[in-house]
């Protein structure tokens, strides 16, 4: 077998695939963050916790109601979205007129509550979640082995990401949304119910996190701590990409996942911090982020 840059191709492509999967999750989460930030001007610290809740809803559905993966794929994001809508209506909506930092602090508190509650109930060890029967097994691509489920995760998140991009950039609803981001008062004067739109936006953003949680459940185990470390990386992704652009959030997420995978191959010790190093470099060169606008 030939080697690429001194690394066996199975290892290289295996890590690249892993990076692509991580990147898909970064993309889904940073996309949700960007959508929420655009509309609410809130950085949703609870995003990681809601991703964890999504995975747990899937796990609970399977273990208590016997509803499998495909049900969970639909139900868990719905549940997370509804939770998000309640949080937005009861708490976040009181803070819009204040400094943005309060939104960050509030959602930080919510993240602690959610994570602490699940941790109290289920401990820190992960709960296994089986891969659905339809997606068991894998394909031999010649240069590497591709498990079906992992291929599905990458494909599904890409479809969702670009679907969201299309909905926001190319449809009438998306046009309302973008208009309301620019000038909510004027859009409301045109007869569009902006408060409801804000709630729905938040619900949609966190539902994306819930969906990511379900997709992640069979790959990583379902654990109360799965969201907290991820969210910090996603914050770094958001800083690198800049939050001005939906497409930017998606591409940065995928790109950084791949970069992390490559680092795991060539210099594994740095794989944990490579995203943060990239963030520091980007900030020094282009403070607004790769796709961002300074405001």
């Amino acid at each position: 077998m030939f080697d690429l840059l001194g690394v066996p191709p199975q290892v290289l492509f295996g890590q690249l695939l892993l990076g692509l999967i991580n990147g898909s999750f970064y993309a889904l989460l940073s996309l949700g963050l960007a959508v929420i930030f655009g509309m609410l001007n809130v950085i949703n610290f609870a995003h990681g916790a809601l991703y964890m809740v999504g995975a747990f809803v899937a796990w609970l559905l399977l273990n208590y109601l016997g509803l499998g993966y495909w049900w969970a794929l639909f139900l868990a994001p719905t549940v997370v979205g509804l939770v998000g809508m309640v949080l937005e209506k009861t708490m976040l909506s009181r803070l819009y007129k204040l400094d943005h930092l309060y939104g960050l602090l509030l959602t930080f508190g919510l993240a602690l509550i959610l994570e602490g509650a699940f941790r109290h109930q289920y401990g820190v060890s992960g709960q296994p979640y089986p891969i659905p029967d339809l997606l068991k097994g894998g394909q031999n691509l010649g240069f590497m082995f591709l498990p079906n489920y992992r291929g599905w995760v990458v494909a599904a998140s890409l479809i969702v990401c670009f679907g969201t991009w299309f909905a926001i950039e190319r449809t009438r609803l998306g046009a309302y949304l973008r208009a309301a981001t620019e000038n909510p008062v004027l859009v409301q004067a045109f007869g569009i119910n902006v408060p409801v739109m804000v709630s729905l936006t938040y619900a949609f953003g966190v539902a994306l996190a819930g969906l990511a949680g379900v997709l992640a459940a069979p790959i990583y185990q379902v654990s109360p701590l799965m969201g907290s470390n991820l969210i910090i990386i996603v914050f770094a992704v958001v800083v690198i990409g800049g939050m001005g652009s939906i497409l930017g959030a998606i591409l940065t997420g995928l790109g950084l996942g791949l970069m992390e995978g490559l680092t795991k191959v060539f210099y594994p010790e740095a794989s944990n911090i490579v995203v943060f190093v990239v963030m520091a470099i980007v900030l020094l060169i282009k403070p607004a982020g790769l796709f961002g606008r300074e405001r």
């Binding site: 509550i113 914050f235 944990n272 403070p287």
Partner: protein, 326 residues
């Protein structure tokens, strides 16, 4: 208007001499209580409060007076704890040099972080500091000298200046109290200096401060380094008190905790963080004895603070005192 400015509008309107006598009296009373506290309470507990109070005061210098929310102060606190612990335990240095090295390390880290983070404002600043501190966490997890999951245990307290034997609880206590008073005095001096006034101006309206000819970046960076150094001083002291430096000190939860202490006590007030630190440490040691999950309670306090009283305890009291309408 930034977060803290709303909270401190009342506090900062204080006249130059009207409250001076009262303030001096207040501090004399506070110092007396602190000096007598170890006779009534468990000294290690009071020392813990003092370390976290200094940590929170250092953090507050940034959010309360410069309007910068750092979500990565655990890096300075924990980083300095590691350096102090290593210097004292492995290199056998006396505690005063250990503390000095820890503080210097935190200052250096602060300079590095600050130079990167002040390029963005508001929420981005918070996210950047959080990400950078997470990098420090991973380094603490992987580097050899930090001892990974075990941390650095059994740090000797040693003999301060070759005279004071810190293994005696009371001697240790008064040493910690001295460190705290020193740190607090530095913050007091900084806030009441022209430098502090410029910081407040930046907090209220940065473009205007720039147009007046101030190089706001330098002021912000200096405030960041000062805050990081004092957080490091608190962390190094904590390593000596508990004879331990561990991953808990550098974790992001620690950064969150110091935010909570400051928010609960009152952002932008000088004594607020002290009150907040006292309350949070007391609450945590109380909760540890019950079966209630600590993060849930902490998170709930966060939510209540943000929704109901954003000025914090001290901020609310100041706002309600007669003659100090904000």
């Amino acid at each position: 208007m930034t977060a803290a400015s709303q909270a401190t509008a009342a506090a900062s309107l204080r006249g130059p001499d009207a409250g001076t006598a009262r303030t001096a009296l207040l501090f004399a009373v506070g110092l007396t209580i602190a000096a007598l506290a170890p006779f009534a309470l468990y000294p290690v507990f009071v020392m813990k409060v003092l370390c976290f109070a200094l940590f929170a005061c250092a953090f507050n210098l940034l959010i309360g007076f410069a309007g910068l929310l750092s979500f990565g102060h655990a890096a300075f606190f924990g980083g300095a704890a590691y350096v102090t612990a290593h210097a004292v335990k492995v290199w056998g240095l006396p505690p005063e040099l250990g503390l000095l090295l820890g503080t210097a390390a935190a200052a250096l880290l602060g300079l590095l972080f600050g130079a990167i983070a002040i390029r963005r404002q508001g929420i981005y600043f918070a996210m950047i500091t959080l990400a950078l501190s997470q990098m420090v966490f991973f380094m603490a997890l992987q580097l050899k000298f930090t001892g990974g999951e075990d941390g650095i245990q059994g740090v000797p307290r040693g003999v301060l200046f070759g005279v004071f034997d810190l293994t005696q609880p009371l001697t240790m206590y008064y040493a910690v109290l001295t460190v705290f008073v020193f740190g607090f005095a530095v913050i007091w001096r900084a806030v009441h200096s022209p430098f502090g006034q410029v910081l407040k101006a930046i907090r209220e309206n940065e473009p205007r401060a720039i147009s007046l000819g101030y190089r706001t970046e330098r002021y912000k960076l200096l405030a960041f380094v000062l805050s990081a150094s004092l957080a490091g001083l608190a962390g190094g002291t904590k390593a000596l008190v508990f004879q331990l430096a561990s991953l808990t000190d550098v974790q992001w939860q620690m950064s969150g905790e110091v935010v909570l202490m400051t928010l609960l006590g009152g952002m932008g007030t000088l004594v607020g963080p002290v009150v907040g630190a006292g309350l949070v440490v007391t609450l945590e040691s109380y909760l540890a004895a019950t079966s209630l999950p600590v993060p849930v309670v902490i998170g709930a306090i966060f939510v209540v603070c943000v929704l109901l009283f954003r000025r914090g305890i001290v901020g609310e009291i100041l706002a309600r005192l007669p003659g100090r309408k904000g």
